[in-house]
């Protein structure tokens, strides 16, 4: 543990990682229960286009990725409503198109291959101070918003129609949730990389839902799994010299396995 106190880069990674993990954990439960867990995967691919655009234009890739991810998330939502596409068809379309655009920009900016790999596979240990502050700020906003609207999000996730009848602004809240998801995906990208970002958006909630009998319990367990995955994964990666992103995801899967093992008890309650 000495290294934690000694190395500034590790401190930065832990602080940013824990904030982003909590944001992922909150969203995770809602997205899974809304049958929308693939949106993280789709938006991560689209984010690749945003990162490549930033690198191509030589501006902060985090900013362009945020813009592209939020716009695409809103577009996916609108197309799902208007075009009446089945399930996650819109996500699948934008996921492929986003990645294709990313490849195009990446090829145009030939000198940036090293940077692109950092975004594809994550590089939390190389996170810069500015990115730490952006991550903390945005993750803080996401966590605060989720806590503030928690009960309304729970209602629209459980019974959208009744929530509408009771006068809740369902569409506005769904748009808000979509934007928060896009921002979270971009933040998590720095942690585990574009390829593995959906794991951090899905596995914590999936683990919590294995055993939770109440909604708050599901959120709490999801947070525990996400934070443990990030902290545990980074510690293992640091001491065993493993890549941080893969270790975080594998450790979260290990935790999911433990929760899955104890899921039988839930059926009895």
């Amino acid at each position: 543990m000495e290294g934690l106190l000694t190395y500034e880069f590790l401190q930065r990674a832990f602080i940013a990682g824990i904030f982003v993990a909590v944001a992922c954990a909150f969203l995770s439960v809602f997205l899974i229960l809304k049958r929308d867990s693939m949106i993280g995967h789709g938006l991560a691919h689209v984010t690749f286009a945003g990162v490549a655009l930033g690198l191509f234009l030589n501006i902060l890739p985090l900013a362009t990725a945020l813009g592209v991810a939020v716009l695409t998330a809103l577009l996916i939502m609108r197309i799902k409503e208007r075009a009446g596409l089945y399930g996650d068809t819109a996500i699948a379309i934008f996921s492929s198109v986003g990645f294709a655009v990313g490849i195009l920009f990446a090829t145009l900016a030939q000198s940036m291959n090293v940077n692109i790999f950092a975004y594809l596979f994550g590089e939390i240990l190389a996170i810069e101070l500015l990115e730490v502050w952006i991550s903390i700020g945005l993750a803080g906003v996401i966590i605060g918003t989720m806590i503030f609207h928690f009960r309304k999000f729970m209602y629209i996730t459980f019974d959208r129609e009744s929530a509408r009848v009771s006068g809740i602004k369902v569409r506005s809240l769904e748009t808000l949730l979509t934007v928060l998801t896009a921002v979270t995906v971009v933040l998590a990208m720095k942690l585990v990389g574009i390829i593995l970002v959906s794991a951090l958006i899905v596995i914590p909630g999936a683990a919590g839902l294995q055993v939770a009998t109440h909604f708050k319990q599901a959120l709490f367990l999801s947070v525990i799994v996400a934070v443990s995955s990030v902290v545990g994964g980074m510690l293992i990666a640091f001491y065993l010299d493993f890549p941080a992103s893969g270790t975080i995801v594998l450790f979260s899967f290990f935790l999911f396995g433990i929760f899955y093992f104890f899921r039988k008890e839930k059926r009895m309650l």
Binding site: L33, M154, Y155, R164, A212, H214
Partner: protein, 255 residues
Amino acid sequence: MASTANDSQVMIQVKDVWFNYGRGPVLKEVSFDIRHGDFLAIIGPNGSGKTTLLKVILGLLKPSRGRIQIMGKDLNEFSQWQKIGYVPQKATHIDPSFPVSAREVVSMGLLSSKKSSRMNKEEEKSYIQRALRMVGMEEVKNRRIGMLSGGQQQRIFIARAIVNQPHILFLDEPTTGVDAETQGHFYDMLGYINKKQEITVVLITHEIGILNKHVNRVACLNQRLTYHGSHAEFCQSKTFKKWLAEGHHVISHQH
């Protein structure tokens, strides 16, 4: 029906409502009123437009023609949704693994109330307790909703709909998948809510068997409104006799 000063007050006014999903009209020229204290059963065969009518009244679907007024206000101007309680058709088809307790489900009903944001935990608890007591479900409040029987789930959804002490309660096919004995108790509970709590009840069903001592108004819908009047008159009407001749069963709940 308990007589009150508000008995003649029109709660809902449906005027010449038409609706179509783009392949011919599902509702044609539907007009009727719902008055304070009514226990109205809207009956009709499958596909007759009952659920569509309810969704139009509640603003979930926009009519292609016509006008809805709730408590004297046009639907698009109406904002007091806490006065409306709603139990949707799919209430008994919930995901059994959804991690939400019966108590959490009832608490969702308070979110429509503007006063809920000012409520402290104790007040909120007392509202929830009261609603659970009214439907006889206090003992299961901490259990996961998916682990309750269909009848118990339905009572919890009614508790959610009445937790705000609404003026009107809408129920869409509430006894689907519930056994006959439970149905009897269920309608008695609705009768109690209607009479003792003075909540107007509007019930949608394809089962003519729900016509029991608690229902005082009947509307028959088959795209058009074929009958609208008192329960007693309905039982003497040609519409009722035609329905019986078509093989619809009447389960009497006259206790």
